[in-house]
Point group: C2
Chain length 357, copies 2
């Protein structure tokens, strides 16, 4: 997992690209014109770990709300704009930290130049976001779909480079995972800009999380990607949760507890699934990166979960408490969760002292 | 995505390896000695699409239940055995279609030879399943963890090859995704046998599905893997569901509907998430592979979901029905789901006629 080299840029206080950690983004699902609902959702996103938030700006009223919203929230904000260069100018005026637009669809050459010039003046980056399905039908109709996406992005990039603008991020999203992966691989070799990863229209939480994890996971494993947004038909904090789980699985970010739990089988003598669920629930507010194991048997449990900071391995009527694979005590079945949680809270407090919280 | 070449073998009626489709496995979580609960769970697994089921056989009583269980179910059964070669002999006697064991831990050389000979006689394959955490501490303690896993598996493979036994499958599971990926990549180049993929102790449904999707997804994308088991602390049918979603995302298997739905944003004029959830619920029993889209806006929706067989794109108070990206009609907001479902049911019926159901 050697990371692709990219230039870095800043979206407000957040650095994307270069050596910066992979940034987690999401998008509000409120009506942007409903200022108070939108501020509320951005606060929730900030609280659940989102690092950059995007807002759809479909009309002037939405663009005007950005002023109030921007004043009320700390998260860097990106305005998502289509079809009208004036919305982009208004969003920049409102103080947004980034734009997402496709220069080709917001106006004529002169209008594009005005947007790019205003963005340059404010040092606001622009993401070129090509979605497989929304490429104009007339653009290279004979080219294979993946090449069309890449060439569309390259055309937009050249247009902006021609205007002497380099604060560019790029995304190439499709629903189809192999196409998305291929498109990103192809463009990764051609440009120095940071890449924003995502799978479009991935669906509901259960299926969309899997689809996104595979697509984004394959690319991150290849070192491609500087910021990710998991698109789900669900509350945006679910998107953030899934994004962190992807990054944690690949060791790219740390955040909150990781639960190692065995799937249970005919050898288990207690209800491991219920136990694991209870422990997971009790750890919801913990932000320190701790690895906690809930294992079904004393014979293999501690060994299998050797890399857990703390864990329990359950036998008949009682269980063992272990740290880093070594058994350090036992407890009766009914005390097991409390004893485990005491260990977790102790580690969490230690984490806060060390400033990991 | 060129698939690694492997020899194929049969687990009962199911072929694993070679050109065979990637096989979906799961494991019962009932007490194997509780014959009726175990039969019940295997029936549920058969119904939800599981293709091979594994059962833990921790003692003689469990081994004896296999006779009754085997007689009552159609799914190929694999017995999971540790520490005692007699359990393996009893399981073979009971007619199981596969074994999972590590020859090194079931007895002395003579006892291993008896098991291997009985398996050869019945043409029953054996999976060597190395888990990172349960390698004996004395085995190559200085080697890096990934090499230890691979070398442990190779030692077991050589042992069985030395007994002239080649009906071998191999798994190398760890909790850590990058280690698991590296271990499978390494062994894939060294042996011709089919590989069984999985991430151990992946955790609860929500996080375990993501972790498994990344690990298994990266390997499948590289062409590695012939059968998969998603380990979750959840009902085994959830494991099967996640397994199929992984395979569907990579275009490796088809099964049931795929819902393309947009994440919703400040541009949506209806509650897309609720709508997508309702459609998903209504499609639960459909087995024909149909791609169905629920999109938030009429402007981009049909284009973005061009590869969907059928879809809806929602506007204010009404929506458009589209097939393969072309709008074919409109309906009022309250009729939208019914009109869409009529299309889905029509396609499902067509699918059954063509024998896809």
């Amino acid at each position: 997992m050697t990371r692709r080299t990219s230039v870095s840029l800043r979206v407000g206080r957040v650095t994307i690209g270069g050596d910066a950690p992979i940034v987690v983004q999401s998008m509000t699902k409120t009506d942007t014109r409903d200022t108070s609902a939108t501020i509320d959702q951005i606060m929730q996103l900030d609280d659940c770990g989102c690092e950059v938030v995007r807002l759809a700006v479909p009309d002037t009223e939405a663009a005007q709300s950005l002023v109030t919203i921007k004043r009320s929230v700390a998260l860097p904000m990106i305005a998502d704009i289509h079809f009208d260069y004036r919305l982009a100018l208004e969003a920049l005026e409102a103080g947004v930290d980034g734009l997402r637009l496709n220069p080709g669809n917001i106006g004529d050459k002169d209008q594009i130049a005005r947007v790019v010039s205003a963005a340059r003046h404010r040092e606001v980056p622009i993401r070129i976001g090509v979605n497989a399905g929304s490429i104009p039908p007339g653009f290279q109709p004979q080219a294979p779909p993946v090449e069309r996406m890449v060439n569309m992005a390259l055309a937009q990039i050249r247009l902006m480079e021609g205007l002497d603008f380099g604060l560019i991020k790029v995304s190439l999203k499709a629903f189809d995972v192999p196409s998305t992966v291929e498109a990103y691989q192809m463009i990764a070799r051609k440009i120095p800009y940071p890449l924003h990863l995502g799978i479009t229209e991935a669906g509901l939480l259960r299926t969309g999380a899997i689809r996104s994890a595979i697509g984004i996971g394959i690319l991150l494993y290849q070192g491609i990607g500087d910021t990710i947004r998991v698109s789900l038909s669900a509350h945006p904090c679910e998107e953030v949760f899934v994004a962190y789980e992807i990054l944690k699985s690949l060791g790219l970010r740390k955040r909150g507890p990781t639960l190692v739990s065995c799937p249970s089988c005919g050898r288990a003598e207690v209800d491991i699934i219920a136990l694991a669920e209870a422990v997971s629930k009790r750890m919801e507010r913990i932000r320190t990166p701790i690895k906690v194991a809930v294992m079904g048997c004393v014979v293999n449990g501690p060994g299998e979960a050797r890399d857990a900071d703390v864990g329990i391995a359950c036998g008949k009527g009682k269980g063992a408490i272990f740290r880093k694979g070594e058994i350090v005590g036992t407890a009766s079945e009914q005390d097991l969760i409390e004893v485990l949680m005491a260990e977790v809270i102790r580690l969490d407090a230690g984490g806060h002292e060390k400033g990991q919280g």
